[in-house]
């Protein structure tokens, strides 16, 4: 039963994502993972500070269920169906070690140098994680969606705005990896 322990190839994962999108469409919803950040802010009372968060968040509770599902899925996959090691292109792994001193490639799911609990208290790591999250949250709301809302749902619906957003995602990602990483690491 290798399907249980081996990583899933792209031709399994991609169609499954499309399936999730269609199931949600048939239930009258859409597939998008970032609007629940806005819902969470509203739940926590951000509506008092900005009109953006004054909306009927209770109608979005189904989306919070999806978040719960994602959390449970991650728990099951990581604890029962994985050795938690991700193997990447050896040249890329080598470059990570040589240029940035990240040696945990091909040994873990996430780089322990950044995410490991032993480095938890290092201010630089906390800043990287915090700022990374900040950019994702801000950017997703500004663009009106993240990879699921734009790259998958929006492009499936042949929406030009989604194409612009995805182009933006890639420009941002490439700038970060190729221009900014050398400055940080």
């Amino acid at each position: 039963m290798n399907l249980i322990f081996e990583p899933w190839p792209w031709y399994v994962a991609g169609p499954l994502i499309a399936l999730v999108m269609f199931v949600l469409l048939f239930l009258g919803k859409q597939f998008g993972m970032s609007s629940n950040l806005r819902t969470a802010c509203s739940v926590m009372g951000a509506g008092k500070v900005s009109d953006f968060f004054k909306f009927d968040w209770k109608a979005q509770r189904w989306n919070l269920m999806i978040v719960l599902g994602a959390i449970i899925g991650g728990y099951i996959a990581s604890n029962f169906m994985s050795d938690n090691i991700v193997l990447i292109n050896p040249d890329v792994a080598q470059q990570l070690a040589t240029d940035y001193n990240i040696n945990s490639a091909n040994q873990a799911y996430l780089p322990t140098e950044i995410f490991g609990l032993e480095n938890f208290a290092e201010p630089k790591n906390i800043l990287i994680l915090l700022i990374g999250g900040l950019l994702v949250g801000f950017g997703a709301r500004y663009a009106g969606g993240c990879t699921s809302g734009h790259a998958i749902s929006g492009l499936s619906n042949l929406q030009v705005p989604s194409l612009i957003a995805v182009v933006g995602f890639f420009i941002g990602g490439l700038i970060m990896i190729h221009l900014i990483y050398p400055l940080i690491f």
């Binding site: 009258g28 663009a143 009106g144 705005p161």
Partner: protein
């Protein structure tokens, strides 16, 4: 997400280094099926089970919000190695430090809500 390694920082880094087809394969195949499926839905006028219209509304027109927002998102995606979906998945998988990323994402969302009227759309 987890099983396909789409939630792994290493895979995202590799993607932006064009080191593997894997991530492109995931998004490309999802998209290929998505486009076909949505076309079928539209031509056959398929409705969701509650009888309303399908949630396939066109997005608001514009360029700057999508481009600028997209670039900002992309910067964060490459830095943290995670977009929102994987953040929740990794939290479930027990990687406690992703909670910092999630807090950041909530702050970023909040910040947008506060300053959005001053931004170009």
């Amino acid at each position: 997400m987890f099983k396909s390694e789409a939630a792994s920082w290493f895979r995202i880094y590799e993607m932006f280094q064009f080191g593997s087809f894997h991530m492109y394969g995931i998004m490309g195949s999802a998209l290929a099926l998505g486009v076909i499926g949505v076309q079928i839905i539209k031509r056959k006028n398929i409705k969701p089970i509650n009888g309303d219209e399908m949630s396939l509304k066109p997005k608001e027109k514009g360029v700057s919000r999508y481009l600028i927002g997209g670039i900002i998102f992309g910067l964060g995606w490459a830095l943290s190695g995670a977009c929102p979906g994987p953040m929740y998945v990794l939290a479930g998988a027990g990687y406690v430090s992703i909670l910092i990323v999630i807090v950041g994402a909530l702050l970023g969302t909040f910040l947008y809500g506060v300053i959005k009227d001053k931004l170009p759309h």
